[in-house]
Symmetry: C2
């Protein structure tokens, strides 16, 4: 998102003979837009991404992973406006005020758009994140990721949804891609696609905001008066993804378009080669404890549960 | 290369009961070394790299691409000390004082180690770099690269050498890899290996310093009293490789070992997949004008010559 020249008019209004003032400038797309046309542009871009990667259709039942942040609420709003059947799923992580605030904002938004929000609490399933953090020597973000993936998949199936949609934006995807590339972690690189197809007990997962930047998403939320949690999760401090985002933003500043190109060229040039090469290698098992799908004998969530039980730290 | 603690002793001397002071600390290898053991360590590391990638043997005739910089002179020194048959090849690029100075330093070094230095002048072959720079709208570094690759290969064959060795160090390789990865340029990524095998008129090219950092190479030159050109080529200013080197050095500072890991993991995890996939795609032709090998009908050098002739700019 670039600096708007004083007195700029909306490109689309101008083409139609109108004179509406532009409020947003998208240098990479060469567009200056008014509020209404920005919203229109944004929703079209998301719909185009959904179709480009064949994420889902109007017949599917979609469960949106809602965190209370700008991206997930924006995604939920767009999907609903575009006419998709999309409900919300919120996991209360038990991170004190942060979880309280984000739950309330998610609930309020659910009421506003008139779509149900399913809520589960990590406290009832295993333990709140601060307890897990104390019980294991894994970083909290890793346990949180395991829990979110596990319960999203499990409950989506139970509740009869066939698609999980998450709010990962371009900056998120690019930061993860950058980290995995620095280590040439092929195991992770091969999962870096905006659609993970359904197989062996996993349901389809999609990222419709994968071509939307963080700033674009925040701007959409702002123009639609979406109230979201504005402060970061207290456990996220010092995460390497934040470091990578800073590096990439510096490169982007000098060479606009680098982020999008890094991501889309990966999908176009590199991903197909990796996928072809590793097609037959990943085998999905069934967890011996909980019966959910897993890449090993016992799934990550059940291993986490054991670690928490063994530690003796209580909720 | 890290900060040496005051009073540190050489790790290897200490193991042998000696007390020699350390003058270099290699944090990533957990070694503090005296001058002699640093030189030994360095030469062993280069020899190990030569063997790991099966670059060449004592039976081969090696032509070292000598620029007068620390890396090429260091490489020439190491190869000679290790008992390989390695002569030098210098291309006078005609870049004023820079070329004068680097040629004299290369000649002096050639005399010191008692190995011949073959010299050609770009002025006699096509035109000096400043003239090429004015005649074409390509960056000077691109023309310079084309000329070096072309004449190195052509003269090595004429002079009866079967191996070309260049002084590219880890920092060089990592910066190029980083740039090619940011753009996911598979065409270039598939050439990013420390050995390019001989085929269709190209002779084998190797990079024995690919696991040596810039600082390690400078330190080796310093300990061996190798005089080299210390200032940069005046045309190199603002090159994107310099920008990438800065970014990577910042990451390295925070996470020591990242550069080496980025490079070696690429070679181990990614390169084989790319190579396998593109094995059959590159076809080497013969240039219709000069008869040298080329990936298109007319080679890059002949195209460059035409551009210079057409421009009418004179030497």
């Amino acid at each position: 998102m670039g600096k708007l020249k004083k007195g700029s008019r909306c490109t689309i209004c101008k083409a139609k003979g109108g004179k509406e003032k532009a409020v947003v400038f998208l240098p990479h797309h060469r567009l200056a837009l008014c509020r209404d046309h920005y919203i229109q542009w944004f929703e079209k871009r998301v719909e185009k991404t959904i179709k480009e990667f064949r994420m889902f259709s109007k017949k599917d039942r979609i469960l949106v992973a809602v965190s209370g942040g700008k991206d997930s609420l924006t995604l939920w709003n767009v999907l609903t406006k575009l006419g998709y059947e999309a409900d919300g799923f919120y996991i209360d992580l038990g991170i004190d005020q942060y979880s309280e605030d984000s739950k309330n904002l998610s609930l309020r938004f659910s009421e506003r758009i008139g779509r149900p929000l399913h809520i589960i609490s990590l406290k009832d399933e295993i333990a709140p994140i601060p307890v897990i953090d104390k019980s294991t020597n894994k970083p909290a973000c890793s346990a949180c990721g395991t829990a979110k993936r596990y319960y999203m998949n499990r409950y989506a199936k139970q509740l009869g949804y066939n698609i999980i949609a998450t709010g990962h934006n371009l900056d998120d995807e690019v930061a993860v891609l950058f980290g995995n590339t620095l280590h040439w972690d092929i195991k992770y690189l091969k999962k870096q696609y905006p659609v993970l197809r359904e197989e062996g007990g996993f349901i389809r997962k999609v990222k419709p905001l994968c071509k939307i930047t963080e700033k674009e998403s925040a701007m959409y939320a702002f123009f639609n008066d979406i109230e979201y949690i504005e402060y970061e999760c207290p456990f996220s401090e010092g995460a390497s993804s934040i470091e990578y985002k800073e590096i990439l933003s510096k490169i982007e500043e000098k060479h606009p378009g680098t982020k999008l190109q890094f991501y889309t060229n990966f999908l176009k040039n590199m991903y197909p080669i990796i996928k072809e090469h590793y097609e037959k290698e990943s085998q999905i098992n069934i967890c011996k404890i909980c019966g959910e799908p897993s890449f090993s004998d016992i799934c990550g969530m059940c291993r986490l549960k054991k670690a928490v039980e063994k530690s003796g730290v209580h909720n």
